[in-house]
Symmetry: C2
Subunit: 102 residues, 2 copies
């Protein structure tokens, strides 16, 4: 199991656009067989900062996500709204260990 | 719904101790009524860096966690193993919006 925390920095005038595009990405991504979670979060003190919490069963599953049509559409759509490049931080899972608890 | 990402920096010789203590905290915390998730993650490239992904139904629920015996025990137990102070980052939830998907 692998979790990638993707930190996204959005231009202030495109916050709502980003939320809309990322809701779509969430809906499609959580339907991928290897996906465990795909949470979209907004920083409480800075609405231009977002966190995508992307949990997959395996590295292969996480890599496959980046080949999906919905990911590629999202990436292209949000590109002009980025204030600076995204940062992905990879984690391994300590708990919960059971797949069923994801 | 609220998510707090707690970044924890552990002294190298106490990584295993921290994992053991945090597994216990995970088990107890996920039994709290207001808890939605309490994931414990370890950075893939730096095993001294951990992330606690703490999701609660409400700010009150998140605050109540800090009054529980298991949290206070965890905090006291891990305190001497910290390389530097923890950092908590608060987020609001964009997706999933349904409580049942947490």
């Amino acid at each position: 199991m692998i979790v990638t925390c993707v930190h996204v920095y959005v231009k202030p005038d495109h916050i709502d656009d980003f939320i809309q595009a990322s809701r779509l990405n969430h809906e499609k991504s959580t339907q991928e067989a290897a996906n465990m979670r795909f949470d979209v979060l907004q920083h409480q003190n800075d609405p231009t900062c977002f966190l995508l919490y992307e949990a997959y069963e395996s590295k292969d599953g996480a890599a496959a996500h980046k080949q999906t049509e919905h990911y590629l559409t999202w990436r292209k759509t949000v590109e002009p709204w980025m204030a600076k490049p995204r940062e992905g931080v990879p984690y391994q899972v300590i708990a919960p260990e059971e797949r069923g608890k994801w």
